[in-house]
């Protein structure tokens, strides 16, 4: 500083400002930040799916155990929590995760498409494979979630007579229709592909990847994708084969 304020020299060197927006603002305004939102929300959903999938497998132990498990989900945390409080908490977190994930994905996709308006005349299919699977997979999964909730949570579009409190029967009803099976299996295959690239991708976005860890991360992603898909598909398969009825 000179006697009368900043000199030209000071100004020449002051090329940066130290005033910064909040972390949340920084996150949401940045493509890297939005990817982080996607990664975190994705991992939350992934965690939920693992629990969900394991819970689903209880269907193989009969209506009593499955329905009891469903009831227990509503009483978790009692007596501290009131009936269904925990469940609603989980639902809220999931809705927030889904909305955050989808909004980020939509906004990022728009940015991506704008960034590459004209296509190459000479096409290379492989370039956009992962991106395309993620985008279409995401849309399929989004539609599936709507159907899934309307089918087995609210019963709005359920095929048989929806019986609240009797999830075992509701599940069997759904998977006794060909379209129920088709929708579900297609969605679970999409889920597998989505998790496969998504888990590894989230690790990269969160900075957890490294050259030495890459193989391990890819293996975990593959195993997770396979287990989830297989675990979820086991239910309609059980119904279709008559093991579950």
């Amino acid at each position: 500083m000179g006697l009368f304020g900043p000199t030209v020299l000071d100004m020449a060197l002051a090329t940066r400002t130290d005033r910064r927006p909040s972390m949340a603002r920084t996150m949401w305004d940045s493509s890297v930040g939005k990817k982080t939102v996607m990664a975190v929300s994705g991992l939350i959903m992934l965690l939920y799916l693992v629990v969900h999938m394991i819970g689903n497998l209880k269907i193989y132990f009969g209506a009593g155990e499955f329905n009891g498990y469903a009831h227990w989900l509503r009483t978790v945390g009692e007596p501290f929590m009131h009936y269904e409080w925990t469940l609603w908490l989980v639902r809220i977190v999931l809705v927030v995760a889904v909305v955050a994930h989808a909004t980020s994905a939509y906004q990022l996709s728009r940015r991506d498409i704008r960034a590459r308006p004209s296509k190459y005349v000479h096409k290379k299919p492989r370039a956009s494979y992962a991106t395309r699977t993620m985008r279409w997979g995401g849309i399929i999964l989004g539609l599936f979630i709507v159907w899934h909730v309307l089918d087995l949570t609210t019963g709005t579009v359920h095929s048989g007579g929806f019986q609240p409190g009797h999830p075992y029967q509701n599940v069997v009803d759904t998977f006794s229709t060909w379209y129920g099976d088709v929708i579900y299996i297609v969605a679970m295959l999409a889920l597998g592909l989505h998790v496969r690239h998504g888990f590894w991708s989230a690790a990269q976005t969160l900075g957890a990847g490294s050259r030495s860890r890459d193989r391990a991360l890819k293996t975990v992603a593959d195993v997770l994708a396979l287990l989830l898909t297989a675990g979820f598909i086991a239910v309609p398969v059980g119904v279709m084969t008559g093991v579950v009825s």
């Binding site: 000179g2 000199t7 030209v8 020299l9 100004m11 020449a12 060197l13 002051a14 090329t15």
Partner: protein, 649 residues
């Protein structure tokens, strides 16, 4: 023969700005004596910098840091692409980190001797002093120099010296140093202190009342020719090796900025001093557009040889050890493969002239790593030279781990350039030249890893100190405007030239003329020069020039992106510069450094200098296209390093 060879001799020129006194105190003294510009007034001064290589990039950034308003130009699409980026081997500095007896004085000595006693002692000593600061500066910028396991900087040896003082970043030292300067420049661009004009080529300099006050430049995208004004103009536009068409320079490196400055009154010194680099990849055919250099550092571990017998066409691995001639090790036992570039190049030419060259056309010698691979292991060789080997393999489709590389000399660097005083000011007041654009500190031959050193010394440290003096002495220059009659004249001249190029509509492409000129220069003004050959070239050049203006074909218009027009306009200047190079080579009837006159050699074929007659720098004054120039001699005084016959045996 035209009258061109009948040049006249004018007043001798002396460097008026170098202080006297002990050589190691001169730079301090000059800096102290130089007038300074008050920091608060610097913003009012505009400095134009042409070029963004090591010299230009570092000068622009540093001047802006000092507070000057810098307006900078480059023809590339980004300042990061200047051809300094292609320098591979390293940068010298007298750090003596190896404790191997290096010192500022030794670097000074090596450079004067390496330049075959045709450089100015004061300048070279300053260069050696500053070399130390350059490394500090670059490390502070984050230049990722090679390091040892202890985390300290690694060095290697280069040709012509016996200490290890070359700092390097694998084979990409130029790239890393340039990116350092580019990043410093970028910081100043962001701060608004540098107004950067990429894809803009300087076409002329504006001299008003005897002082450089601006330039004429063409926006290469829109074709718009515009004027830019300043209190001083710095040319950092590089060398003129592309006169030869085939060289290791970038395709668009050109001499227009310095040649136009020369035409406006800046004298051109030692134009015939060109460096032919010994280790380049041989050409493969007439389609060849440029030559690729393989770093001189390869000579640290590679051994150069040719078959003993003439016309031996066996593949390298079938030639037994005793039938190989490791000619550099044989002739120069103490320096071996690490002799200076001029000597290595000429030796290669000699063995090829004897008919012992290898590869297509016999224009090549082997650079063999078999011993190195045996000694150090494949892995260590790969770590040290991997990227160079990859590059070689990509170009030649041969695996240098299996078969020896083939190399041949190629035009690489020009020691000559605009004459400058100790302050780096040309004979036009307010016009400065830095880096390869000036006639520099390298005399008649530049040592390896010294170009980067000189470019950065000029740009970071010398010019920013000396330009102060000029600006302080001319604080209130009258504003020059576009309407000024001189400006209008320069502008009209430039526009006329381009319009003429576009209107000839002949039947030959710009490249065909460039190639023809290049072949002529390589034959008669290349590695070996003779009186008769140079006279032949001097007769031929005006004929090519005449034919050029009759038969050139440039498609398109001047108001658009037109690469053919850019090329053709550069060739206009090459066709004049080539003539001066040949004349300079003809008049200097001695051999020194890169300039080898066949008439002047020792009995064993080494260059024979003639210090009685030629211990001077030849500064040429322009008088008109094709008109005999005026020679001004700057006598070189050697107080500290006494000229001796260079010996590397």
């Amino acid at each position: 023969m035209t009258d061109y060879v009948n040049y006249t001799t004018g007043e001798p020129v002396a460097d008026g700005t170098a202080p006297d006194g002990p050589i190691n105190e001169r730079w301090d003294k000059r800096r102290f004596e130089a007038k300074l510009v008050n920091p608060a007034n610097r913003r009012k001064h505009t400095v134009i910098v042409v070029g963004t290589g090591l010299a230009g990039g570092s000068a622009g950034a540093t001047l802006a840091e000092q507070g000057y308003h810098v307006v900078q130009f480059c023809y590339q699409d980004s300042p990061r692409r200047a051809h300094s980026i292609a320098a591979q081997g390293g940068i010298n500095a007298a750090k003596n980190y190896r404790n191997d007896g290096d010192s500022v004085h030794r670097l000074f000595y090596d450079t004067v001797k390496g330049g075959d006693f045709r450089a100015r002692e004061s300048n070279v000593h300053r260069l050696a002093q500053i070399s130390v600061e350059i490394i500090d500066q670059c490390v502070a910028q984050g230049v990722p120099f090679a390091r040892e396991y202890g985390g300290l900087l690694d060095t290697r040896s280069f040709g012509g010296v016996q200490v290890s003082r070359t700092f390097y970043a694998r084979g990409q030292t130029g790239q890393q140093l340039l990116l350092g300067a580019y990043q410093a420049l970028s910081r100043q661009i962001a701060a608004g202190n540098v107004e950067m004009h990429p894809r803009t080529e300087m076409l002329d300099v504006i001299v008003v009342d005897g002082r450089a006050r601006g330039i004429v430049a063409r926006d290469l995208v829109t074709g718009k020719i515009d004027t830019y004004f300043a209190d001083a103009v710095v040319l950092a536009s590089g060398g003129y090796g592309n006169v030869f068409y085939l060289s290791t320079n970038a395709m668009n490196s050109n001499a227009t900025a310095i040649w136009r400055a020369h035409r406006r009154g800046a004298w051109f010194a030692n134009p015939c001093f060109t460096q032919i680099h010994p280790t380049c990849i041989p050409r493969t055919g007439d389609h060849q557009s440029k030559l690729t250099l393989m770093s001189e550092s390869l000579r640290n571990d590679g051994r150069i040889w040719v078959p003993r017998a003439k016309g031996d066409t066996r593949p390298a691995h079938q030639i037994p050890e005793e039938e190989r001639d490791y000619y550099l090790e044989r002739i120069y036992p103490s320096f071996g493969n690490l002799v200076p570039r001029d000597i290595a190049s000429r030796a290669a030419k000699n063995v090829c002239d004897e008919g012992r060259g290898v590869g297509p056309g016999g224009q090549g010698v082997y650079l063999d790593f078999a011993d190195a691979i045996r000694r150090m292991g494949h892995k260590a060789v790969e770590a040290k030279y991997g990227n160079l080997f990859d590059m070689y393999q990509r170009i030649t489709d041969e695996d240098p781990y299996q078969v020896p590389m083939r190399i041949y000399p190629a035009v690489h660097y020009t020691m000559g350039g605009l004459w400058v005083d100790y302050d780096l000011q040309t004979t036009v007041p307010g016009l400065f030249a830095v880096g390869e654009a000036n006639f520099s500190d390298h005399g008649a031959n530049r040592l390896g890893a010294s170009a980067l050193m000189q470019g950065l010394a000029d740009g970071y440290f010398v010019l920013p100190a000396t330009i102060n003096d000029y600006l302080a002495r001319h604080p209130h220059q009258e504003a020059v405007t576009h309407e000024h009659p001189v400006v209008q004249d320069v502008l009209a001249e430039t526009e006329d030239r381009l319009n003429l190029l576009l209107s000839v509509d002949g039947d030959r492409t710009p490249d065909s003329f460039h190639r023809e000129l290049g072949e002529l220069m390589w034959e008669f003004c290349g590695m070996a020069r003779t009186d008769a050959g140079l006279r032949k070239a001097l007769e031929r050049i005006p004929q090519i020039r005449e034919e050029f203006w009759r038969r050139i074909k440039v498609p398109g218009t001047g108001e658009e992106f037109n690469q053919s027009l850019e090329k053709a306009n550069r060739i206009v200047d090459y066709l004049e510069l080539a003539e001066l190079m040949c004349l300079d080579a003809l008049h200097r009837a001695e051999s020194c450094g890169g300039h080898f006159r066949e008439e002047s050699q020792t009995p064993d074929g080494e260059a024979a200098r003639d210090d009685d007659e030629f211990a001077y720098a030849a500064a040429w004054e322009f008088t008109g296209t094709g008109d005999a120039p005026v020679l001004h001699r700057e006598d070189l005084v050697f107080e500290y390093v006494h000229p001796t016959q260079r010996s590397y045996a």
